[in-house]
Symmetry: C2
Subunit: 509 residues, 2 copies
């Protein structure tokens, strides 16, 4: 179906309305607009939803799929739809019907003893945090930069937080999914009808299918187990600041063994801030380096990190880190603020919320206050080697490319033990179509540059997914052909989210 | 093809011989016999290989698959084929040709800086350990109970070791596989032709397929990245011994938070030893409880565990553990022996080899010395909740069932933070067909009992895979139907390992 196929659209609207109720079917209005790419530019007409439907139960999801199969319309799944830097809920295929799961927002179980929650895709980081606080459950969450998104949606997109279990995709355990034909499937131990271990043990018997439903269009995930950490005795969170451009090389050489060894915990993030008077005025309008600096921390390189656990072990971690960093960077400043494990938003400084596991909107609030309400961003995120050289190369490429396209592009890097995931934000005025276009072109150029390094982004804006998928071309696109074979087998005409991450069936409605 | 289809078999033998050389095709003899179920009983004629072929390169694997497709014969993949407790290399489908990968035994890369090795499936734990020692590379391995097996084979079967990264399946990063049609596929970052991150970063763009090739018959894994830990400053390994049957309940209640919190590292193993004069004579021939006790440690419950890292942090972990255990079990004995991180087999006591990351054959040597050269074992391994009640229930069921069938059945439990994987061994005289049969029946009975608890084994003997797979029956076998859809899509007639973990295509040659 395309957006122009009005007959099918009216039929679908009518059927979905009778199925879900008028309040669960949106065709226009303020709420409908929330499901557009919030920073849409000149290409956005290619990624518009025709309708948004919001089922409330698994039965309704299955019924909606039955209707979609009958009418041959595409459903594009979104959970909360808050990943604005990648296009929000905007579908790859124009005119798809957004199947939004915000109303499926039940927390089905929180198990303090075994350390997990069983949740639906409409549960946000804020909501789970509030439930843990309200019920005084001593479990700690890992949270991403903004707390309004779906926990499941973020994890399914391979999203990251920064605490222990900050690799959110790996923190899921056991999924319930609805396949394109309406079949309800439970993975792992959940396939045993009376399993006590669905959210506790990752695998069943035979291959684990959990990862198959992440960054894919193979099913609609309607429930997931989420592992949570015991609340630590203390959380000590802070920053390492370095002032010289080339400090990044010894900094990373010092951090890598500490992460591999487990002294550094969670996923530290390195942010590069452009320095020097000569670059302060680069940018346009409010989007200048000088304004950007007011949002970022003051070092040329700033590492945000946290330690969690018994007070005495946290002290030892701190002292090992200090010795290792100061051995190679004697002038690096290391700040650390120590909070009780149960410290909440009233006790923790806002800049420490993320490391302390408190979901928040601080970053977006600050960016909007500096850059205005039309602040737009496009996130670019190549995975790069965990070396100082790779970091420096990324920073240089980003500065050159962002500068050339007239947008701001600070560099962030999430440190895994054996790789870094760049989390760079191209920042621009979303009310200016030229700047929107410039940001997309800058993203394309950075991806082309990364491809020369043998690297690719770990996720991407919907407008760029096919280009990114083409990077994974080994042996005449063997991986893409495998994805298509699976898609053909379970959704031959692409009812569910066609084009998601470049995955298409061989034929499509 | 069945074992009786002699025409096809002769044709296959001729073709594989001309393809691989006479030395790489076995139809009988001592080496051929290594690929039978080593403890085969009366049912074993149902799981016999017709031939064994041993390619040495990826090209040869692809060529062998071309021949198999042409002649319509089944290839049953085995790496080293040393998982004797689950049937060794014996195929589910009688008369299959074993595609054994022992000769693909190259260590392609060891990267000390990033902490990984890239290996082929014929590389054993012994071989990689020797290479690390020979090249003085400061990386530590996790090893399973016996060191002669394939690292990749063990990980693909969801096997466990006991150190950090002891969940071997999760320690793999990036696979190369040959699909049934001969297509060479690289997963994750490896699908980028010039990737520097294949063995460093778990995912690419789109769903990660690594787990799809574990416990499955969807491809022949020909290379894999394996994450290794930095060699710690010290390794402190030892045992907790408790003497009372019901000690298991407070023991597990004390251990669970320590594991979830990360104070206990790796995968501690609890072994239950039958105690009391009244049970000493239970068993038959050499297979008595009294003899069994000479192999096991002396507590009613024995926890094998290890701490790894900086000496001062290891001391703190030790003191936290002691306090937590003695608070609930004042009479528990805690032994700990501390070795340098690089201590090898000459410096470490043999009973500590496994926890110290030194591959060995100690367990099998001791079992054979006590029970004789015809010692046979069948491993039964339900995944159970991480609670004292579940442990006690398993132990009681195992004693009752093993006793009823006249075999020995000590209980082991590997402790993950949110589940336990039982590693129980049914022990018997493999030269006595009645005992072999009794062991299989005991395994069946234990699995039936576990099914009542909502539990199932994490892997199984080839003779029992279909029964186990049936346990995962949620929604009219939705999971099994999904497996079959994938199998149909990539291997419609079941050339590759049909029946592996209960996965069959809809039609089969």
């Amino acid at each position: 179906m395309t957006g122009n196929d009005l007959g099918a659209l009216y039929a679908a609207r009518e059927r979905f309305t009778s199925l879900l109720g008028a309040g669960a079917v949106l065709a226009d209005g303020v709420i409908f607009d929330e499901f557009r790419d919030p920073f849409e530019g000149p290409e956005a007409q290619s990624h518009r939803a025709a309708l948004v439907i919001q089922p409330e139960t698994v039965d309704q999801v299955q019924a909606a799929l039955a209707v979609a199969n009958e009418l041959k319309v595409h459903l594009w799944t979104s959970s909360m739809g808050r990943n604005y830097g990648y296009g929000g809920s905007a579908p790859v295929k124009n005119g798809a019907i957004v199947l939004n799961l915000r109303r499926m927002n039940r927390i089905l179980e929180i198990n303090a003893q075994q350390g997990y929650a069983l949740i639906e895709p409409g549960v946000s980081f804020h909501q789970l945090y509030q439930a843990l606080r309200d019920e005084k459950i001593p479990l700690m969450m890992s949270v991403p930069d903004l707390g309004w998104g779906s926990i499941i949606g973020n994890a399914l997109e391979h999203g990251y937080g920064y605490n222990i279990l900050g690799d959110h995709s790996s923190a899921l355990c056991g999924l319930e999914t609805v396949l394109a034909d309406g079949t309800l499937l439970r993975t792992g131990q959940g396939a045993i009808p009376n399993s006590p271990l669905w959210s506790c043990h990752r695998r069943g018997f035979g291959p684990s299918l959990d990862d198959l439903f992440k960054q894919s269009n193979f099913g609609v995930v309607t429930k997931a187990g989420l592992w949570l950490m015991p609340q630590p005795e203390v959380k000590a969170v802070g920053t390492i600041l370095c002032q010289q451009e080339h400090d990044i090389v010894p900094l990373i050489e010092a951090m890598r063994p500490l992460l591999q060894e487990g002294i550094l915990q969670g996923i530290p993030m390195i942010v590069g801030t452009p320095v020097g008077d000569d670059v302060a005025n680069i940018g346009q309008g409010r989007f200048t380096v000088a304004n950007l600096r007011t949002v970022l921390r003051p070092g040329r390189w700033n590492v945000r990190f946290g330690f969690y656990g018994r007070a005495d072990m946290v002290s030892q971690r701190q002292s090992i880190l200090q010795k290792a960093i100061h051995a190679v960077l004697p002038n690096a400043e290391i700040e650390l603020r120590t909070y009780a494990g149960d410290a909440g938003p009233d006790e923790v400084e806002p800049r420490d919320y993320i490391s302390a596991g408190i979901p928040n909107q601080v970053l977006l609030d600050r960016l909007r206050s500096v850059f205005g309400e039309t602040f737009g961003h496009m996130d670019v995120s190549p995975v790069i080697p965990f070396t100082g050289e790779a970091a420096l190369r990324l920073d240089q490429a980003m500065r050159e490319i962002a500068g050339r396209h007239g947008v701001l592009g600070p560099v962030g890097m999430l440190c895994n033990p054996r790789s870094m995931v760049a989390a760079c934000m191209l920042m621009f005025d979303a009310s200016d179509p030229d700047q929107v276009k410039a940001a997309r072109n800058a993203a394309r150029d950075l991806y082309a540059q990364a491809r020369d390094w043998g690297c690719a982004p770990y996720r991407s804006h919907v407008a760029l997914v096919d280009e990114v998928a083409e990077t994974f071309s080994f042996n005449d696109d063997a991986l893409g052909r495998m994805y298509s074979k699976i898609k053909n087998a379970i959704d031959p005409v692409g009812i569910l989210s066609p084009g998601n991450h470049g995955i298409w069936p061989d034929r499509s409605i």
